[in-house]
Symmetry: C2
Subunit: 285 residues, 2 copies
Amino acid sequence: MASAIEMLSRHRCYSGAVGFYRHQAATTACAMRFAVFTPPAAERGPVPVLYYLAGLTCNEETFMIKAGAQRLAAELGLMLVAPDTSPRGAPLPGDSESWDFGVGAGFYLDATEAPWSAHYRMYSYVTQELPALIGASFPADLKRQGIFGHSMGGHGALTIGLRNRDRYRSISAFAPIAAPSACPWGQKAFSGYLGADRARWHDYDATALVLDVKDAKRGPRILIDQGLADQFLDSQLHPGRFEDACARVGFPLRLRRHEGFDHGYYFISSFIDDHLRHHAQILSS
Amino acid sequence: MASAIEMLSRHRCYSGAVGFYRHQAATTACAMRFAVFTPPAAERGPVPVLYYLAGLTCNEETFMIKAGAQRLAAELGLMLVAPDTSPRGAPLPGDSESWDFGVGAGFYLDATEAPWSAHYRMYSYVTQELPALIGASFPADLKRQGIFGHSMGGHGALTIGLRNRDRYRSISAFAPIAAPSACPWGQKAFSGYLGADRARWHDYDATALVLDVKDAKRGPRILIDQGLADQFLDSQLHPGRFEDACARVGFPLRLRRHEGFDHGYYFISSFIDDHLRHHAQILSS
């Protein structure tokens, strides 16, 4: 049963509306916030749902404020759902000491190590509880769901999408952490949340996961945009490793590299329309 | 002579770039920040410049992050310039006690009352020093300048535009404080910065100013968008008073009232394209 949700605010935006909500989440055992953009087509019946997972230090507001997605989402009839990036309603010792671990850095996984395992269950939250809540509370067509995200959220979108291909029919990412087991952000997060045994990291590493995908060639094709002036490209992101892994198994990928663009939302907003069209095309077919 | 400017950061955005800058301003006798979006057309020669004045509590980043203006500005070949909303580099006693006076609340006027008069000279900064700096440092065509803004910045755009019609050829505003002498925000700001003598307030009140405009009918037409769910509409904004004054002297105004929209950037972004086209059309004629 979906828990009750509380509307915190709602803003008319283009021909739709952006709403911010809070609910008591069973998965993370604390209050969680999320944002929903409802397109005008939702007044006439269920519409496709596109989940956006944000990056380190962001929250449920970031995408709605900065990405400029609402104009075209209104036109295409896409509902946009943006969860927070970690539990925030359950203080844990040390959860705010780093910007890349703990609060604002949930990494879209289910932690197995104490004390994180009690609340840091963003994988289950995003894949189970949130879609059930959206389906119960909004005019969403759960047969047409897609997922995308940025940086840590790009990692989330790729791993969640690859592990649940029947649920998320379309996948894309901006500057994702594409091989987290091989970079400092991922190693710190996985060690802390999942422990030192690297075998447990496998299911949260897109580059490892894609090698296991059955029937890889059926796709549908993943879209990734990456700025070449991204300050984290060489040290943290490694899209080339994911690209190589996709090539090995024949998973269709369009990885676009863009001269001059950095890691921020000025980059994301520049290509957001292409991502929305990518999802709309797959979800409407 | 234009003072040296320091580039703080620069981000590729669509086919142009957003840059953030700092310089030591003579007018305000302190360091000031501003943002510039440069469209791709600026690579081939000077382009029209559109100044955006932000509202209470905002800064030079707000518009660039939240309004979603860059996509169409790139296409139309408009340079966008966004100054800060007050001096910040010169601490004064009591300047941060209120969100509607002092820091973040310069009201685009030249203060005459101590201690504000030493630094709070945003009218001169915006109308003189900033354009000179932009003209000297960027491929800007100063013969084609327009101005717009939001709330306190809508007040700024209307008053600055009306007082300098030959300099700013196009004017528009989102939810402006249209009759500041008649609302609490304006009365507090004008009393503090300009003193109790209301005769001194006249030049900073759009509704009063428009009545004095010579050759009012030549316009060009001002565009104002106002949300009808704006929480400040009845208490602070009074667009109807400005509308009445324009009608009295025949100044062409298009005031659009929008059902359901509030005072924030979800409202602004919904109509930003119309404003950019308004300015581009006048500035290209």
